[in-house]
Homo-oligomer: 536 residues x 2
């Protein structure tokens, strides 16, 4: 398994589309699944488990479409279970669907714990061995590469090591290309897990893989320990998606294995695509991208405390364990009460604004930011609002428009459905624009009316799209009267930017964020935003 570059290879087996979809909050269409599979192939994983054809028709559709595409790096795998007890392998409907999926690789799951065999499957230990062997042999006869997922392996191993290993041997002897040890309940600790892997690697005549869950927050550690104990296939999901608290997170595993331990997991140079793929998968799955994800999260290389910011500015290695660009991530500097004036100066510099010689402006900005944060604004994730705040403080700032009035009416009259209508009155230069628009919601109506008013003067506004919109209740104790913070991400063809608004009135908070998001592209030309990363 050694590559030509002399690095030991570890095959990355992605199960985002199968185990990842069993997590709460994940629901993918066939099209979503194809998009994610293509992204995984671009990343360069060795295997993409596309789904469980026996469990739902959407997965069957996926395999039909996947068979018509060309995959650059990955092999597509279909997942299913061994034949049922007392049924011949060539008559088992689940195995038939697996073969019909037409994938080069098939992974079948079976039991490796006597407790599970007897109390969940309700069959005998011997019949379970036959179920494993028959199913593997049947799929090998059909010309497939076959992996055997030994469910509950580690529980089974501590219960009855001989039987657990006998199950693996049955799979190997029937021709399995690898046996995968699954910590299905995620309860195994690193020490005993590594020891079991070490013994299995010596005891079975085929390759060994590892599949862990994060119930003890040890999935990544356990997978690494398994590789160091001799496993050569690692199963996991992008961003650690998966049932309960999730599967082993490939976005942490891959950089540790590849960058820190010197294994070869991806084609050379592909590691830098990791952050992009992580964010893309979250977007397609319609999940927020967790900023606290190691390596790929927006906060993974974010510095807040004044002390740290200072040191990071001196030498990034002081507070970063790897250069962010290794995984395609970037460094961020936060502005907050914990930091001081130097943070604002550094942040402004990242916007291309030099506040170096203007201590009065900096002092006033720090005060203003503190006051707004006290009121509930939060600029950490709203760079465009912060940049506008700084630009408004500079001499000679010209607002592209001035808001005079706006109204929004939302109406439900029994039987006639919903109506949302907004009016906006703006001044641009000497002219007053008074517009009205309907929308399919109040913020949409406001957005439409505002764009109508701006469009004559600023035709480029038609390219701005609102990409994401979030609302957060700031004070739980005031019910529907609580203060809310609205966060909007907008984008055009070249960039995206985030803005914030805060009020007890969700329409007003939305309006603030919306107005900033429409102001930003009029104030900050595209050329200025290109390549102005913090100078590390």
């Amino acid at each position: 398994m050694d590559g030509t570059d002399g690095r030991r290879r570890v095959a990355i087996y992605d199960t985002t589309l199968r185990d990842g979809c069993q997590g709460s909050g994940v629901s993918l269409t066939t099209e979503d699944k194809l998009k994610i599979a293509r992204a995984l192939d671009r990343l360069g994983v060795a295997y993409i488990e596309g789904g469980w054809p026996g469990s739902n028709p959407k997965d069957i559709a996926f395999f039909e479409r996947a068979a018509r595409e060309t995959w650059q790096h990955a092999r597509i795998a279909a997942f299913g279970s061994t034949r049922r007890a007392g049924v011949r392998a060539d008559e088992d409907p689940n195995l038939r669907l697996l073969v019909e999926a037409g994938t080069p690789t098939v992974t079948i799951v079976g039991k490796a714990s006597p407790f599970q065999v007897q109390h969940v499957l309700n069959t005998t230990l011997d019949e379970n061995l036959r179920m494993v062997a028959d199913s593997v042999a049947h799929l090998k006869q059909a010309g497939r590469e076959v992996f055997f997922d030994a469910e509950h392996f580690f529980d089974g191993y501590s219960e009855d090591p001989e039987y657990a290993v006998a199950v693996l041997r049955a799979a190997c002897e029937a021709g399995a290309d690898a046996v995968v040890l699954c910590d299905t309940n995620g309860g195994t600790l690193t020490g005993p897990l590594a020891e079991a892997v070490r013994r299995v690697v010596r005891a079975v005549p085929c390759a060994v893989g590892i599949h862990t869950h994060n119930d003890c927050e040890l999935a990544v550690a356990n997978s690494i320990a398994a590789v160091e104990a001799g496993a050569i296939q690692v199963q996991g999901t992008i961003n650690g998606l998966g049932e309960r608290v999730g599967n082993a997170n490939l976005c942490s595993l891959i950089p540790v294995l590849e960058y820190k331990l010197g294994y070869r997991c991806l084609p050379p140079g592909h590691l830098a695509r990791l952050t992009e793929v992580s964010r893309y998968v979250a977007e397609v799955a319609n999940l927020a991208h967790d900023p606290k994800l190691p390596f790929v999260g927006a906060q993974a290389f974010t510095h807040k405390a004044g002390l740290h910011v200072h040191a990071v500015a001196k030498t990034p290695a002081a507070y970063e364990h790897i250069p962010p660009e290794v995984v395609g991530n970037t460094r961020h500097i936060l502005v907050s009460e914990l930091s001081g004036r130097s943070n604002v100066v550094v942040k402004a510099k990242s916007f291309g604004i030099d506040l170096g010689g203007q201590p009065d402006i900096v002092r006033r900005l720090v005060e203003q930011i503190k006051e707004l944060e006290f009121l509930g604004f939060w600029f950490e994730d709203a760079d465009a609002s912060l940049e506008l705040l700084i630009r408004r403080a500079l001499p000679g700032y010209q607002a592209p428009f001035e808001v005079l009035d706006y109204t929004v009416l939302t109406e439900y009259r029994g039987g006639r459905g919903m109506l949302a209508e907004a009016t906006v009155k703006l001044r641009i230069g000497d002219q007053v624009f008074h517009t009205a628009a309907e929308g399919n919601g109040p913020v949409n109506a406001l957005d439409q009316a505002t764009r109508k008013a701006l469009q004559g003067f600023y035709p480029q506004i038609s390219e701005v799209r609102l990409e994401d919109y979030k609302v957060r209740v700031l004070d739980d104790h005031h019910g529907t009267g609580a203060k809310v913070r609205v966060w909007i991400r907008s984008g055009d063809h070249q960039r995206s930017w985030s803005t914030v608004g805060c009020s007890t009135n969700i329409i007003e908070a939305s309006w603030m964020a919306l107005a900033d998001s429409l102001t930003y592209p009029l104030v900050v030309p595209v050329t200025e935003t290109v390549m102005r990363a913090f100078p590390g």
Copy 2:
């Protein structure tokens, strides 16, 4: 350090209020900090690091107020750094503030890496040793228990093990009660970390602690490995809050150490308070409680896939690594397209509704749920809306009110601020109630007007509070015209419940969730919700 129960003790040192506050999105008032400290004391951690008196006045206020309270289990610790280079310890302003904090314990941080000493501190290796020794001795003279946090210890150890250990010895010989090995950048892997701890434990004459960060998703594994290598103090934060991707998560560490490895971390019986404290800290910090947190997250014992639900119903140990009640958590069953009719029956049973003999109703419910989920509703985290859906499908359901009309007007007229006004027309029995109310936002105005209309008939509605309110944009590609899902959690004195609404119009989506949240307590009496956990 052995307790009377024969279990080895590990001192849990919580730094949520210091290192945890350096994370993005966390900003606590003095009152918030006291609330969290009291919760940590109830949990029974050994140490609560309250803050850094040298960094901001809020932390000084915390220590003043903490000194006037009685702490049952925990000792309060103040955090700071060693004296500056070239300044006498008794003249160092930071050390003076640390003594003035009046805490029984003081933790000071110093450098253990030659690179850091020379390139960040800009001083000599010898002066750094004196800074450590002088500062520890000064605080011991002031009568404090003193811990020395060796910053960047593992980087320093791999750079120059002799110097790194010399720094620790300087602290021990000056009287430090423990030296704490910090993986400040979070980049150290478990193997080398455990090996370094093992050597340090043999090399230094005082107790050893461990402080890790999660940048490789290994903070929990590294802390456990350190304890197994001889560390007897573990530093971490509730929910893994902290700079960048966070510190070692005590909510995972404590149950692994205490329940799985047999150490004594908390007073007997206190482990079952863990989930409650985890959620409380998130609430006070105004952060969403991550449902994917191991052990304490809402999804940690949640089962979705049909296969699993079936097995869990048979025997919980089949798919749970520990009983949820060990950490004070509970089991959840999800309804989703991946599951089928049996899930709906099990779920209804958890609401106290027996659908066993009514296959037609179950079939219609499954279809209805699938259709609503297709439209964007999501019942996984909206049990009250799901329960109402089921109850409405039962023969004899009586709606407590019928909605005829509602309108909301939001108006901004230059100089006169914002106005939000709603009207609601409801039918209750034979009577029609037509009310109007203002609010500080449109949803609040609707809420007020609806309560006005309901109050005459249903006085108990005045006890219902809206506790949380979330909005999620479902389709990023439609800008402000995208469909939004609104989720509301409401509560009264005895229980809390969650509801969902979905529409392109945020007011309509809010209204759906709001109407359900006001309907629920009128339809489901309190007695029915008590003690109806899923029968495991």
